[in-house]
Amino acid sequence: MALKKVNAVIVGAGAGGGVVAKELATLGLTVVLLERGKWYSAADCRKDDLFNQRTQVLGAKFGPDDERNPRVAVDEQGRESIVYPTDGGYSNNAACVGGGTFSYGAMAWRFMERDFRMRSTYGPVEGSTLEDWPIGYADLEQFYEKVEWEMGVSGDDSGNPFKAPRRKALPMPPLAPSREHQILLPAARRLGLHPFDIPMLRNTVPYNGRRSCMRCRWCVGFACEVNARTGTHNTVIPAAVATGNCELRTDCMTREILLDSQARATGVAYYDARERLQEQPADLVIVCGGAVESARLLLNTKHRLFPAGLGNRYDQVGRNLQSHSYSGANGLFERETYDDLGPGASIAICDYNHGNPGLTGGAMLANEFIRLPYQFMAQVPPWVARWGQEHKEFVRSAYRRTIVVMGPVQEMPLADARVQVDPKVKDRWGIPVARLSGGRHPHTIEIGRYIAGKAEAWLKEAGAVQTWKRVPGRSLSGGQHQAGTCRMGTDPKSSVVNANCQLHDVDNVYVIDAGVHVTNGGFNPVLTILANAYRASEQLLKAWKGTKVMA
């Protein structure tokens, strides 16, 4: 049974989909926004330290649920296993209105100019598909600014000499410095580094009708109890719905994109909240499911002209899956460092994002988010006994005396780090599930070791009496910062979408999420996803002629 036709159906109400819905609906296009998860609110902050999006031992609070959403993971030895959202190796990102932005830490970074030109800056990296983006920082600058002012970003990067040029300062000041901030700031300066206040999608003063952060300890992973943290769920999505042109449908799982005989999209087929199959006709299909699920949807859309999946003529869909290889160090101090003030993360340096001798890129370094006691288990150093009296004594004496400095190391993309659809395993709705395989490039790990050493040096200068590094292993990288699977580019043989985020082969299907990122910067990617969604929406609307986009 077909529903009433609309101009655009958007699959996924996360960072990208939320922005696109608002931009299109505001200009008068009729929009249906499909989300497989639910619409949570500030009231859903249960402050449950074992059942949230960060610590999932009793479940992923904001989805997806284990019961209906398996995937297949293949390790580097080729062993495959069925994995669930709460397992490592699943590459989970939240499934709810707002997507990851509902429960994230909310760092709001602009990428640097060189992050869009990694290949021309550093040259090829053996074994990696490292490439330049088809767009540059200058193409995104005005849209970064638009996110910062429309959605609201706080912080102060005026002390960061490495940042790309910006026309306007951030609209809100940073939070007052925490104790960790006060310890790390003079140490960074003594080392000749350039510390500054992290930009965050977080109200520090009342903004856009929402109040400011109250600095509680239930931050990343939780719903913000006072609605001070900013995501698409409390900004652009309500704005889209308020236009009267956008209908948000939750608990709706999209099965495939519907195509006519020439493989142009006519809409999507999805299972509604009561698991009935529905067909939503539309002039445009905009895929915003995140790097894993967007690739899966394209691959599950088969056609005579696209037997291996929509837009996959050259076997590019699902490749180059990447994220960030978090690297850094823990430091144990003699004095107390814990002040019970959220969000915790507040001070950063960009001294090691680029220009590291012999290395292709690097990472921003920042202090970590506030940690609850169970999370502290991961910070016990390797030389302390894993259990018994010694372990307990360490936790008791060290909980309030540690600082963690970490950075999201930019990864070297790999063609074999990929999303496919599994030939056998299906989800609750009978849809073939994502099959994840591959690993990390050795140079990524090399950069991680270097960055961890820099974090350690900063902590030592700050007075840490003991330090220990954290460097990732070789296993596949994904998770909340997942990116790269629907690469943006000019050559259809080595990319999936063009610079406007339109499939090379099908002009009325778009992918607008981190899947299009060619590389993922040495930063949390959300501001870039949001800015690119504003940019792609503007390109789309410029070409919009009533029922279709004109080339």
Partner: protein, 174 residues
């Protein structure tokens, strides 16, 4: 009094519900205080957890109700770990009997440590699972059946209840 009547009725319903579920599931057995674990399994597990997080000047896993946390989760979210627990606990008691002639809970502390060190080496998967669950039950939220009286949060000096809505601008230098 009306309220007294209501309370008594609720209490009776509560008791009969517990009895009914114990009979219908028959997991822990009629004599067991646990939902899933048998009396004997519960005793072994309590002794193991008490070694993983021992009592000192602060309560340890036993008084924090860690086994209650594990038993509750094995009845709900951790159902898939039931066979692992059955086998793992049986393995610990068997090793104890073979080596020292008694079940684990009846051994001296030194003997228990010997058994646990061997288990950590020989049955690493179960040991790590149990260690993680023990930490969750001790350091996690009391609503899930462990960390009774917020003992671990008091131990690490986590202010509770937290001060709400504060801004702490007084921490700003100058």
């Amino acid at each position: 009094m009306g309220t007294g009547m209501r309370r008594r009725t609720l209490l009776e319903i509560g008791v009969s519900a517990v009895t009914a579920s114990a009979i219908s599931c028959a997991r822990g057995g009629a004599a067991s205080p646990w939902r899933f674990l048998t009396m004997a399994q519960g005793q072994t597990l309590e002794a193991v957890c008490a070694q993983l997080i021992p009592e000192d000047q602060d309560p340890g896993a036993k008084d924090a109700g860690v086994v209650n946390y594990i038993d509750l989760q094995l009845s709900t979210r951790f159902k898939r770990y039931r066979p692992v627990y059955r086998q793992g606990i049986a393995g610990i008691d068997e090793a104890s009997r073979t080596q020292f002639g008694r079940v684990f809970a009846a051994l001296t502390s030194e003997q228990q440590l010997i058994i646990l060190n061997t288990t950590e080496e020989k049955d690493r998967a179960f040991f790590d699972l149990l260690l993680n669950h023990t930490r969750q039950g001790f350091y996690g939220d009391p609503r899930h059946g462990g960390n009774r009286g917020m003992v671990s949060w008091r131990m690490v000096g986590l202010p509770f209840p937290p001060v709400r809505g504060r801004q702490h601008y007084e921490t700003q230098a100058g």
